[in-house]
Point group: C2
Chain length 184, copies 2
């Protein structure tokens, strides 16, 4: 991920910028300013822009990071497929509630399809697809829904979670959604 031919200070600063960006965008969403990120990282703005040519690129970098982490930890071959699907879904929704930038991402990924970083997007869609299929095969999820509907519901849940402060309420709403997905 980080080219090894990079000077030590450069590598260190790149890491700092990414961490700061994750925090700042997580708190204020994509409208947060690049200057705020630089300040939080303890570097000059010039440094931020050397590592990431545009604000958009920086934003995408942290999104890719989070998605990669999610995909890595997806319980693709857990013993209980129904629980695996539900927990993966719920985990993404939780992430959206905690980090503003994430809900948008899920929305765009799920629906627009394009977006840069198509690889990670494809991976997460595949992971969800696998979990869905397994849960359907196990008879836990109705067989007439496809990945497409699941993604729309996921995106909606993420965006709603992003703005719902009450965690218990979030959980109850999600439970209703899962009931809709459950096999009769």
């Amino acid at each position: 991920m980080t080219p090894p031919g990079m000077r030590a200070d450069a590598r260190r600063n790149r890491e700092r910028v990414l961490a700061a960006a994750e925090a700042v965008f997580g708190e204020h969403g994509a409208t947060a300013s690049t200057e705020e990120v630089a300040r939080r990282a303890g570097v000059g703005i010039g440094t931020v822009f050397r590592h990431f040519p545009t604000k958009q690129a920086l934003y995408e970098a942290i999104v890719v990071r989070r998605l990669s982490r999610l995909v890595e930890e997806a319980p693709l071959d857990a013993d209980d497929p129904a629980e695996a699907f539900r927990s993966f879904f719920a985990r993404i929704v939780d992430e959206s509630a905690a980090k503003k930038a994430f809900a948008d991402t899920m929305a765009v990924l799920g629906i627009d399809v394009k977006k840069s970083a198509p690889d990670v997007g494809e991976e997460i869609r595949r992971a969800l697809g696998v979990l869905l299929e397994r849960a359907q095969a196990a008879g836990a999820i109705r067989s007439d829904v496809t990945q497409a509907e699941v993604f729309v519901l996921l995106a909606g849940a993420c965006m709603a979670a992003d703005r719902t402060a009450d965690a218990a309420l979030r959980k109850r709403s999600l439970a209703v959604l899962f009931d809709g997905l459950a096999a009769r």
Copy 2:
């Protein structure tokens, strides 16, 4: 709504601005520029700002308008309570799909509660509450959900719809959601 002591041209321009704002914000969301609204309305920017002191005020004005229209047309005493609830819910989601500005509104109204124009917000919440209660009394909707969960689900559906171009997909996803709300 429009003070009668207003000169004829002022009243006419106010209407034009509102119509243009509805179109422009509907297409591009709240980030659309005020200048674009003025251009579309065929008036100078000064005129826009005389009628609405800030961009925010203009935005809120069109939101209030739409909400009022929705509340007016809510089928509060329809014969079929289940269908009434569903159609009202679906209608709001459809509106969100058509008009970008609307999904945000629903999200904010449903969850943050404050927001200016609290009256209309309150009205729409009440309308949904009535429809929900009636559908529950009729045994069509599970009795353990409250207005709060319904609003979270509604807000999520609105935001997802806002970004889902495929109308059929939108409809199928909504159907899954309704199944979750249905009484067993």
